[in-house]
């Protein structure tokens, strides 16, 4: 139930491994908190691994957008790793794939931050 967030660091990239749900009842708040903490402690390269996220609704998509915007405002960048087919669909039909940089390989994702 709800959302579990595991945090790792590789070089200057903070990776959040999310698992569970990002919906209005569960997950949105936790995700916002986790992002806020990273930004507050000056970690501005953020990679969200959503491969184990089982359910996202429009609030969850909104929270991903929030995460992106807040990181951006702080001068950082947030990217997405391991989109599930369903998250991919939800982002695609609301044209958000044009906004997010997305990766299927963690290695590629990490490299991209150092370009």
């Amino acid at each position: 139930m709800s959302l579990t967030i595991n945090q790792r660091t590789t070089g200057d990239v903070s990776i959040l491994d999310l698992s569970g749900k990002i919906t209005i009842g569960a997950g949105s708040v936790q995700l916002r908190e986790a992002i806020r903490k990273l930004i507050d402690s000056n970690n501005k390269n953020i990679l969200l691994n959503v491969g184990d996220v089982s359910y996202v609704d429009s609030s969850g998509i909104g929270e991903l957008v929030n995460s992106f915007t807040n990181t951006n405002k702080a001068g950082g960048i947030l990217k997405l790793l391991n989109l599930t087919k369903k998250i991919q669909d939800l982002l695609a039909i609301t044209k958000l794939l044009t906004v997010f940089e997305t990766f299927t390989s963690e290695e590629e994702a990490l490299k991209s931050f150092n370009k």
């Binding site: 209005i24 609704d57 429009s58 998509i61 609301t94 044209k95 044009t98 906004v99």
Partner: protein, 146 residues
């Protein structure tokens, strides 16, 4: 016309803690009708979105106000109506989430998702007040069900 139609009616108070319950009823029903996993997922998402709107925008989180969900099922389709007791709204005047100026809005995608995933989505005002969202999803029948 629709043989063996069944109706399931569900009423909850306006609290987000009941959205999982409505979703699990939906999952149960789409399984009975025989929808595939992916279709069932999008139907349940659409129901969630409409119930959340009814709670948030319609009933404005007043937990004394009810949300009435009605499922009408047949072998060919599922029709879901979600009614709130709010002031109503004009669905023609909501921002387009695909408009470039709205792309980074944290909200405003719920109805768009409902319209994408369901075959028909209608909004109407209940004569006694409140909004009714009626959504239809047809089933592609590949084999006869028992």
């Amino acid at each position: 016309m629709e043989q063996n139609a069944s109706t399931i009616a569900l009423t909850i108070n306006s609290s987000f803690k009941f959205t999982e319950l409505v979703a699990s009823v939906t999952d149960n029903i789409t399984q009975i009708v025989g929808f595939g996993e992916e279709e069932a997922h999008w139907i349940s998402l659409s129901v969630r979105e409409s119930v959340i709107n009814a709670i948030k925008h319609g009933n404005k989180l007043d937990s004394n106000k009810a949300v009435d969900v009605m499922f009408i099922i047949s072998e060919e389709s599922i029709t879901i109506s979600v009614r709130d007791y709010g002031e109503g709204f004009d669905p023609r005047h909501i921002p387009d989430p695909l408009d470039p100026t709205n792309l980074l809005n944290p909200s405003g995608r719920g109805i768009f998702y409902m319209r994408t995933f369901m075959d028909e989505v209608d909004f109407s005002s209940h004569p006694q007040g409140g909004t009714i969202v009626k959504m239809l999803k047809k089933r592609i029948i590949s084999e006869t069900t028992e």
